[in-house]
């Protein structure tokens, strides 16, 4: 690339690591940026799922979990007597409704499953707009979209591996990691970018390392299936998996009807064991059959590890069959890393810390991408006409960094504005996300880079700032009302959107004000032809 690379002098470990860091970071950077930002938003997945279903009123109190479980199971069985499986997520402070899935021969979804939301207090089905809610950002974060989920997970895994390499090589490259710990030098061009990149990287380093490594460990069985494949039969493989995550072995129905035991009493037993509010979900197999099984699963908010914790009951007589509260050391290690990654155990304060440090991680990838161009711009023979690779990276950076904000805001706009009666409404929210993002790619190629940055940041700021206004106009949760009611899923999201709008305006303003430092003797227009090949 540059003449230094061609010099015969052997290069030190730091230079080698620096090259590795730069190229690995660049290649995976665009996908990593999107993963980081959508992952960051996913720490508020439940809140976003509520924000995107504004027709559901926020209840003032949470009813007793045992009563809720009983009510919902009864309601589903009355509506679908042939249900062979019922899964309930019990309401919590963050998600005050019951989210249920049930399988039956006439089921419309995958594997015959139907799904729905139920009012925790009445057991009545809740009517809400068809939306992906916070689940879209969450799923995109590791499945991507418009491709089979497995492809997405392999691509994401490869990028995470690159990220791990970039973190380790970055630490080795960064000479004065401790001496420069608190240092940021303003207005020094590339030096400032480097300081900024180092600051967001080093300050959040424990998080960045944890999130990358745990992300790989979460899908370790997918990426390294050979250990599990050594086991001779499927039953043993299922046993291993059921040590790692909640997976109840399928129970054959006896074919003799028997009334289902009182599910509420089983939830109560679990709460006596783990504490009030610690029962997170309920799974019923073969309800109404002699061979019914009921599992009460411990809430993920009450512990870090994601290894399975549940009580398994006989569904016909309510007898406790199994207490699952421990897994092997390897499963526990994976479970803790998995839990740290998801952060479902986090209380409100810790959730905000996750969000802020994860935003710093997003900034780490973003500043890294921009740094690639900042560093090379200084060496361009003709800054007006950079070579193709430079232009490609620059445009991709604009559309990825600024464009994704526009796309994510567009998704929320679609949630508010698409007609409620529309077919495949939830899918169209996602299509509009990608259409907006694609438009930003086109826009970035049509405008000069500086203008493209400013316009996309401004557009993002505008879309974000007007979302609370749109919410006030189209829903019964205007910001002032949500604040007065202490309804933080709405008030918190609106305030965060306003803060993000301010951040994007600041970025637009700084880009607008930015004047590149006068370079030492840039080639004049007349002498441009004299150095045609030096940059490529």
């Amino acid at each position: 690339m540059s003449q230094v690379d061609r010099s015969p002098k052997p290069r030190g470990i730091r230079q080698t690591m620096s090259d590795l860091h730069i190229w690995v970071g660049l290649l995976a950077g665009w996908i990593l940026y999107a993963m980081f930002l959508t992952g960051t938003a996913s720490y508020f997945r439940d809140e976003l799922s509520r924000y995107t279903r504004p027709e559901i009123a926020t209840p003032s109190t949470l009813p007793d979990a045992a009563a809720v479980a009983q009510r919902t199971v009864t309601a589903i069985m009355a509506d679908t007597p042939a249900a062979s499986q019922i899964n309930l997520s019990l309401p919590s402070q963050r998600m005050p409704w019951v989210s249920a899935m049930w399988a039956s021969p006439g089921g419309r979804g995958r594997h015959g499953f139907d799904s729905g939301l139920f009012d925790a207090s009445t057991g009545a089905p809740l009517q809400a707009r068809d939306t992906g809610g916070g689940d879209f950002f969450y799923a995109f974060h590791f499945n991507l979209h418009y491709m089979p989920a497995m492809w997405g997970r392999w691509i994401v895994g490869l990028c995470a591996m690159f990220m791990l390499v970039a973190i380790v090589s970055g630490v080795i490259t960064h000479k004065k990691i401790f001496a420069d710990f608190f240092t940021f030098r303003w207005g020094k061009g590339q030096r400032s970018w480097l300081d900024g990149h180092a600051a967001v990287s080093v300050l959040g380093l424990p998080f960045h390392f944890m999130i990358t490594w745990s992300g790989l460990v979460m899908l370790a069985v997918l990426y390294m299936p050979w250990g599990l494949a050594k086991l001779p039969d499927k039953r043993q493989q299922a046993e291993v998996i059921s040590e790692m995550r909640l997976f109840l072995p399928p129970q054959k129905a006896a074919g003799h009807p028997a009334p289902l035991t009182h599910v509420g009493a089983l939830v109560q037993q679990a709460e006596q064991r783990w504490g009030t509010g610690a029962a997170g979900s309920v799974q019923v197999q073969n309800p109404g059959d002699e061979n019914a099984r009921v599992a009460v699963v411990r809430a993920q908010s009450s512990r870090v590890s994601t290894t399975p914790n549940y009580l398994l009951f006989d569904g016909s007589d309510g007898q406790l069959l199994q207490i699952k509260e421990h897994s092997g050391v390897a499963a526990d290690t994976q479970g803790v890393l998995y839990g740290l990654h998801l952060g479902r155990f986090a209380d409100a304060a810790l959730r905000w810390l996750y969000f802020i440090v994860s935003l710093a991680g997003t900034a780490m990838v973003g500043t890294g991408l921009v740094l690639w161009t900042v560093k090379r711009r200084a060496q361009l023979p003709d800054p007006q006409r950079p070579y193709f690779g430079f232009r490609l990276v620059e445009r991709l950076n604009i559309a990825t960094v600024a464009g994704l904000s526009v796309a994510m805001a567009a998704y929320l706009w679609a949630n508010r504005l698409l007609p409620v009666t529309m077919d495949s409404r939830a899918a169209w929210e996602v299509h509009l996300f990608f259409l907006a993002w694609a438009a930003m790619f086109v826009h970035a190629t049509l405008r000069t880079p500086k203008r493209a940055w400013i316009e996309q940041f401004l557009l993002a700021a505008l879309l974000l700032a007007l979302l609370p206004v749109l919410t006030a106009m189209t829903t019964s949760h205007p910001l002032w009302h949500a604040l007065a009611m202490g309804d933080w899923a709405f008030a918190g999201t609106d305030l965060t959107l306003l803060a993000l709008a301010a951040l994007h305006s600041l970025l637009a303003w700084r880009t607008w004000r930015h004047a590149p430092k006068a370079k030492r003797a840039r080639p004049s227009a007349a002498s441009r032809n004299a150095v045609p090949e030096a940059g490529a």
Partner: protein, 92 residues
Amino acid sequence: MIHLILFVLSVAAFACLALSMERHQRDVVRRVLSAQATQQLRAMGWALLVFSTVFAMRGLGVGSGLAALSGHTSVAAGVVVLAMMAHARRHR
């Protein structure tokens, strides 16, 4: 409440550590502190970090405590950097 205490402790710890570095002493107090004062600041910073660790683990449990502490220290260090930047801009 425990989060507030942890955050304040972390900010104090990193402020001490930053002030135990010559570059930041020049920026903030406009002179280099004595070797003894520097050493005391460094010891104080590390002591506060150790104390916060114990405090977090006892208050929130080992797992959640360490996770919370990691978040608090990252954000607190960021706050100290931002404070240094703001100070440098004001006194430029």
